[in-house]
């Protein structure tokens, strides 16, 4: 029971929300928002209570202190997204569907947690699908908008394709090793040609989920069409979960062909970071802009994996945590401005500081964190990732990555330039954020500062990631 506590708690609150939806009269639907957020907060806090580790269902399900912590990190991201969605859900056209939204969101979260806890490839695949399919519904949530529907369809097609590829790879792995259990596949995985082919298909499928170049093409379109909060959920929580499980699998199951996958990663990192950055420069729509920037950030995450050490694992987790706060901070600002004014391009942000100084400040700090400027947490995250790769002697790769941070700084500065330097005849009017938006942004702000300066967080993660590699 307690071993599966994270998932069970989430299932419980999903059911509660479902029941409330049935019995709540129509005019009080917006109370679901408060309820959902309170319940999720409780789940998050309960998740931090240390519990037993172990396996269930004959090894199909496993959990350790490390995996519990990864789930907690995902919970943090999901909670912030839920808080940030409140303002958007209160719009008249969404009022009918508030509980649907939260139920779908929570079921993807449950899927991700099952995926992280999986002990064999079957469970892993089930979790992955549970995490993916409701997301397509969420991407198409604003069904009266053509772009949103388009995003949903694009997402379901590309994820179906990638799942197919991944499943094909898994079938080859099963065929050559005769088992699906991680613990048994690992020793049997010696790198025969068919196994390598299976690995490549598996990796390509995962690369779709994390949106690594050259499997990134769906990202920008889906992010642009989907509601802002879903884009942020996709770019942070969904991507984070996929990155975690990929790291775990590469370090445990595929550790025998580490030399091979690190060569693959080497090239993919360079491609992902560079392409993501170069495309981001040209974007005008902030959602597309953040989509490409998140592609580049995914490349940075891989730098920790290629480090192939306990320390590398730590930096990946740490960076994802930092990235959750920074990216959700940026998306939170985009979301509130998009809700209130409908403005989504960089030019619309001209002179934002003079009308809405707090939002502009928040956006600047988030972007600085994404770019890796001290004293905000992004600096620490990036520095440690680079250190993880440099530890492995990959100085040239680190140099390329560092040069890319300068390119990324350029386009982040373009947004800051619009907000602070430019003047506009028709600036975004001054408006007051509601309670939930402010709360969401304050949480991000606190995270952006605290995660970097408080070294205990890094040390806690490092303590747990011991023994994985």
């Amino acid at each position: 029971m307690l071993i599966m506590r994270h998932e069970l708690l989430l299932i419980a609150i999903t059911v509660i929300l479902l029941l409330v939806e049935i019995f709540l009269p129509g005019d009080k639907k917006s109370r679901v928002i408060t309820l959902a957020i309170l319940l999720m907060t409780a789940v998050l806090i309960l998740g931090f209570v240390p519990g037993p580790s172990g396996t269930l269902f004959g090894g199909m399900y496993q959990t350790t202190a490390l995996i519990s912590m990864l789930k907690n990190i995902l919970n943090i991201g999901a909670l912030i997204v839920m808080i940030q969605s409140a303002d958007w859900l209160r719009k008249p056209e969404n009022k009918e569907k508030i509980s649907e939204y939260y139920i779908l969101l929570l079921s993807t979260l449950i899927g991700m947690q099952y995926m992280l806890s999986s002990g064999d490839f079957l469970m892993f695949y089930l979790g992955l699908e549970l995490a993916t399919i409701p997301l397509a519904a969420l991407a198409a949530f604003e069904r009266f908008k053509e772009k949103s529907a388009e995003a949903g369809v694009k997402f379901i097609f590309s994820s179906a394709l990638s799942s197919g590829i991944l499943l094909y790879g898994l079938s080859m792995i099963y065929g050559t090793t005769g088992t699906l259990y991680f613990a048994e596949v690992g020793p049997a995985f010696t790198g025969t040609p068919l196994q390598v082919l299976g690995f490549i298909f598996f990796f390509a499928g995962m690369a779709f989920k994390i949106s690594l170049v050259p499997f990134h093409l769906w990202t920008a379109d889906v992010y642009e069409g989907a509601p802002v909060n879903i884009s942020s959920y996709l770019s942070v929580v969904s991507k984070g979960a996929a990155a975690f499980i990929l790291t775990i699998l590469l370090f445990t199951v595929f550790s025998k062909i580490a030399l091979m996958w690190s060569n693959v990663l080497y090239i993919i990192i360079i491609l992902t970071i560079t392409m993501g950055n170069l495309f981001a420069i040209r974007q005008q729509n902030l959602k597309r802009f953040l989509a490409f920037s998140s592609i580049a950030q995914a490349g940075f995450i891989l730098l920790g994996i290629i480090g192939q050490s306990q320390y590398g694992m730590t930096t990946v987790i740490y960076f994802v945590l930092v990235y959750i706060f920074s990216n959700l901070g940026a998306f939170g600002v985009v979301s509130i401005i998009s809700n209130r004014t409908g403005c989504e391009t960089i030019n619309d942000y001209d002179g934002l500081y003079r009308t809405n100084p707090r939002l502009a400040m928040m956006m600047m700090l988030s972007l600085f964190s994404l770019a890796g400027i001290p004293p905000v947490a992004g600096f620490f995250g990036k520095f440690f990732l680079f250190a993880a790769a440099a530890n492995h002697g990959l100085y040239i790769l680190v140099l390329i990555a560092i040069i890319n941070t300068i390119i990324s700084l350029y386009y982040y500065l373009l947004v800051i330039k619009a907000m602070f330097l430019n003047r506009s005849d028709r600036p975004i009017p001054k408006f007051k954020s509601d309670f939930y938006t402010s709360l969401g942004l304050i949480l991000c702000l606190a995270g952006i500062f605290a995660v970097g300066i408080a070294s205990t967080i890094f040390e806690a993660i490092n303590g747990l990631s011991f023994g994985l590699y």
Partner: protein, 503 residues
């Protein structure tokens, strides 16, 4: 708790004070109060430092404090000072103090302006007191990034372009530094044991030569970008010309010194073997930079560009002296940083004040200003004379020391480089005297200039502080030079131990 923490705490408190200030005046006076405290603290630091040395305390680092920050990575918050950093802290506090008064008439978003300015200075102070490479780098970036907003919002001319160019070039430099620091870190324990970012500890380790050869260019060029190393100096003229007065002062006066200090403290000090091998490449570049900057200044018509190119020339001289790698030249390098820091801040302050009155920076449009604003005119002449190295001012002491030091090398290459670099003094005299002649002497060209007024009290405050600094060093250089020498001894020991014995 170390006394040095005040240098970070005071700016932070000042920023908080500014945040809660209600009116423009309150913002300014909070800034003045904070930076006066900073200046007084710096004065006390210099006094305590000299007293400790006089009392026979020979420790390499004084007032140190070591706190563990990231335990697994052995990152510490390690601060402390030696003679050189005390001198740099003194310089910074003088320039920022003068800078606050020089920006007295900022009216657009004053709160944000002073906040950025003081954050920048906090970064600089943090940089000079850090002895852990990680915190050093952290403060370095904190010092650089506010420049974007400072130039972009409050600047003039093509300010968006200049701000972007400056930020990207400097952050590009810091990217190289980051790689170099990682290289140092992973080579900091070649015989086993924990890796470290501790500058003092690394300096006691013999880093393998292949690693030194690989990482030295990254570190030297990385810091060199901020120190206006030719051909990476191009951000400097544009940036300085577009920046508002106080930012030009702080940037040319202090921030560019971060580059010189980093080259000396990190690149040359920690990788002396490679420094000896590769010095010739960078010596050629810096010699070109010295001459190029000086000639560049001759061709310019805009006062700020003239001073910016002259800064390129003077800062190149700092790197030139660092690369000579002997005690005298090094001492000259530090003296030059301090002297140029105050001098160029004075120039930029004066240019800002002149521009505020004449609304032009083109020297051809001005003339005879000495008659209408004698105070600023005289101050400009003093700055000019100091800049061209007249005895009695700081510039003379610094340049003299540099060239005496560099001439101690008795091979042809170093001698030729020295002679070429020294000839820049003549060129400097040409452009300084030309500007003084056109700007201050002769007839008043524009009748409107008859109505302009001389310096106000806050202008005088700024100018007098800086002139006092210049003359204090010029007339009594020995205390400063002793203090610097004191800090240089362990550094030189290591550099000479690692390299071939020259001269």
């Amino acid at each position: 708790m170390s006394f040095l923490l005040l240098f970070i705490v005071i700016p932070v408190l000042t920023v908080i004070g500014i945040f809660f200030s209600k009116s423009h005046m309150q913002v300014k006076w909070t800034a003045v109060l904070g930076m006066s405290c900073q200046l007084i603290t710096a004065g006390i630091l210099i006094y305590l430092f000299l007293a400790a040395r006089a009392a026979g305390n020979t420790a390499e680092i004084l007032f140190s404090q070591d706190m563990v920050w990231y335990k697994n990575l052995n990152i510490h918050f390690f601060i402390g000072v030696d003679g050189v950093s005390v001198a740099m802290i003194g310089l910074t506090s003088i320039v920022i103090f003068a800078g606050i008064f020089a920006s007295w008439d900022v009216t657009d978003l004053p709160r944000e302006f002073f906040t950025s300015l003081i954050l920048l200075s906090a970064g600089v102070f943090g940089f000079f007191i850090s002895l852990d490479l990680f915190t050093l780098f952290l403060f370095y970036e904190i010092a650089v990034i506010p420049m974007y907003l400072l130039i972009g919002i409050w600047g003039s001319g093509p300010r968006h372009y200049s701000a972007m160019k400056l930020t990207l070039m400097l952050m590009g430099g810091s990217a190289l530094i980051m790689l170099g620091l990682l290289g140092l870190y992973f080579n900091s324990a070649p015989n086993g044991g924990p890796l470290t970012f501790n500058l003092i500890q690394i300096s006691k380790v013999a880093i393998p030569m292949p690693a030194q050869r690989f990482f030295f260019p990254f570190l030297f060029v990385g810091f060199g970008v901020l120190g206006a190393l030719f051909p990476f100096h191009t951000w400097s003229p544009d940036g300085h010309a577009s920046a508002p007065t106080a930012v030009s002062m702080l940037h040319a006066g202090v921030l560019m010194k971060l580059g010189g200090y980093g080259c000396y403290r990190v690149a040359v000090f920690l990788l002396p073997g490679a420094a000896h091998e590769m010095a010739w490449i960078f010596l050629i570049l810096t010699t070109i930079g010295v001459i190029y900057g000086a000639f560049g200044a001759i061709w310019q018509k805009d006062l700020k560009y003239i001073n910016a190119y002259s800064s390129v020339s003077h800062c190149a001289l700092v790197l030139f002296a660092v690369l000579m790698m002997n005690q005298t030249a090094m001492n000259g390098a530090i003296m030059q940083m301090i002297s140029h820091g105050i001098m160029t801040a004075l120039f930029f302050a004066l240019i800002g004040m002149i521009y505020g009155r004449t609304h032009t920076r083109y020297i051809n449009e001005m003339g005879g200003l000495m008659k209408v604003m004698p105070f600023l005119g005289v101050a400009y002449v003093i700055g000019g004379l100091a800049s061209l190295g007249l005895p009695g001012f700081s510039g003379f002491v610094a340049e003299m020391t540099i060239f005496v030091g560099s001439f101690q090398h008795n091979d042809v290459f170093h001698r030729v480089a020295t002679i070429i670099a020294a000839s820049s003094i003549v060129v400097t005299a040409v452009y300084i005297l030309r500007v003084v002649g056109i700007l201050l002497m002769g007839k008043i060209k524009n009748p409107e200039f008859n109505h302009i007024t001389d310096a106000k009290w806050f202008d005088r405050m700024s100018v007098v502080t800086l002139i006092l600094g210049i003359t204090a060093i010029g007339l009594a250089p020995l205390w400063l030079s002793d203090m610097i020498n004191n800090g240089l001894v362990p550094v030189m020991q290591r550099i000479l131990m690692a390299g071939p014995v020259i001269h």
